[in-house]
């Protein structure tokens, strides 16, 4: 019980920060080609937030796949279960806020 309270308080107080080295899992909704077809970009859904990510590092990725996205670039394909678990953990510790903050940029 004690530890639970301790964690909740510390999570609350850290919400204004973000962790630069983490990659966040999301689901590829749609894919489009740019630069005359040379580069694939995807709309990736992170819970209720949709962001754009380059798929150049994951040539095998297709719509419906889950990818780890780091600063706007998908770096790895992960399975759905792994993606869901990690996303839930990141939501719980407040790391998804980083995406929300930057959605309007």
């Amino acid at each position: 019980m004690h530890k639970t309270i301790q964690r909740e308080v510390s999570i609350k107080q850290s919400k204004t920060f973000n962790i630069m080295c983490l990659a966040i899992p999301g689901k590829i909704a749609t894919i489009e080609n740019r630069f005359d077809g040379a580069v694939r970009f995807a709309k990736v859904q992170f819970g209720g937030i949709t962001k754009e990510a380059s798929l150049e590092m994951v040539p095998a990725a297709k719509e419906g796949d889950y990818v780890l996205v780091h600063v706007g670039v998908a770096i790895s394909i992960v399975n759905e279960e792994e993606a869901q678990k990690t996303f839930e953990y990141l939501s719980q510790i407040g790391e998804i806020d980083e995406l929300i903050e930057h959605t309007q940029v």
Partner: protein
């Protein structure tokens, strides 16, 4: 969400902790390199739950923390130059330079923008052909593909008003520097999972052999961390030293070949100064000569004099695991996340900020 996160499963964490207690018969000192891991260890209270004889010390894997003072001064110089839009990742804005931070430049009227991705900076450059856009490209191996891609995208799109100010750093040379410091006494390492997702694990074999230390590639969630610690302690107790991969569900031994290709196209390895640590040979990336047109240093002929660090900040000792954040006399006094003396108090990946928030949380419930 239909899955319940087993990585937050207290029972599973508790089981690993019991096993660590059972296996650890002697005192061991293990360093987690990645700032995200430090953050998670502190935030989830794992440091308090480990047995006393397993001591975790926190490494230099916080990109914001190790970006040298004169690079921040360079970014500030560029931000305050007429016609420039200076973009970077959020935490970089609050790091104190020798006089002030980028955030203070912004408050004084400089066009400083926080971006989620460097690819957005290329778009901004395209939209503002009359301005110069500079992206302050910091980070470890994980961030290198994105920063490199921004240069390739600018090249493809014929964008000539985009440059990057590079201060990239690499994990393996930092481990080597920590091991060569006589005061550090580290016996095992947790290597950073997402770094290895990009570059793979092969660069760690020579370190294991040279220093005869276990290195375990580890994820950042609570169960990952306690499992990685257990794997390290098991090796230490048996007198073994091997490279192991706790995070194999994400990290492939060869890394991501596409990402490596992009990094190698745009960057080459160079000597790099680390804030608080000093120069580490072959420990960073800089733009290859072919991409000199995208180098902000060259384009704007930036010459900034090096200024000594604040004598009150012991960040170097903290980053090498020699001192813990709360052992600094200024911790929580003259140095807080609101008024940081040094970079580890700025970023949430910084050990000082993690300890500060944790101690605040403890006070709130006592």
């Amino acid at each position: 969400m239909k899955f319940i996160s087993e990585y937050r499963d207290q029972e599973l964490v508790a089981q690993y902790l019991d096993e660590i207690r059972r296996v650890a018969t002697r005192p061991w000192t293990i360093m987690e390199v990645c700032g995200g891991q430090t953050h998670s260890l502190v935030k989830n209270g794992i440091l308090q739950m480990l047995p006393e004889n397993v001591r975790m010390v926190h490494g230099p894997g916080c990109p914001v923390c190790v970006t040298p003072l004169h690079m921040i001064d360079k970014a500030i110089y560029l931000a305050e130059k007429k016609g420039i839009i200076l973009c970077s990742y959020g935490d970089m804005l609050r790091v104190p330079g020798s006089k002030h931070s980028l955030l203070e430049s912004k408050a004084a009227g400089a066009d400083v923008r926080i971006l989620y991705s460097p690819l957005e900076a290329v778009k901004i450059a395209k939209e503002h052909p009359d301005r110069e856009v500079v992206f302050f490209a910091v980070g470890f191996e994980t961030t290198a593909p994105a920063n490199a891609l921004s240069v390739l995208h600018a090249q493809r799109a014929g964008v000539t008003n985009y440059t990057i100010l590079t201060s990239h750093v690499l994990v393996p040379p930092a481990i080597e520097a920590v091991m060569q410091d006589e005061d550090a006494h580290i016996e095992g390492f947790l290597a950073a999972g997402h770094v290895c997702t990009i570059v793979g694990i092969s660069e760690y074999y020579p370190l294991v052999e040279k220093f005869k230390i276990p290195i375990v590639v580890t994820g950042f969630e609570p169960v990952d961390l306690v499992q990685g610690i257990l794997m390290t302690v098991r090796q230490l107790e048996k007198g073994e030293y091997q490279l192991e991969n706790q995070y194999s569900r994400v990290v492939r031994p060869e890394g991501n070949p596409e990402a490596i290709k992009v990094i190698e196209t745009v960057f080459e390895v160079c000597d790099r100064e680390w804030r608080g640590i000093g120069n580490i040979p072959m420990s960073g990336y800089e733009l290859r000569p072919e991409y000199a047109a995208y180098d902000a240093n060259l384009k704007f002929d930036v010459h900034i004099e090096k200024v000594p660090e604040s004598a009150e900040c012991i960040a170097g000792l903290v980053l090498k695991g020699i001192k813990k954040p709360h052992e600094c006399p200024q911790f929580g006094k003259k140095c807080t996340p609101q008024m940081p003396l040094g970079a580890p108090m700025v970023s949430s990946e910084g050990a000082c900020a993690a300890y500060y928030h944790f101690s605040q949380a403890m006070e709130a419930i006592v």
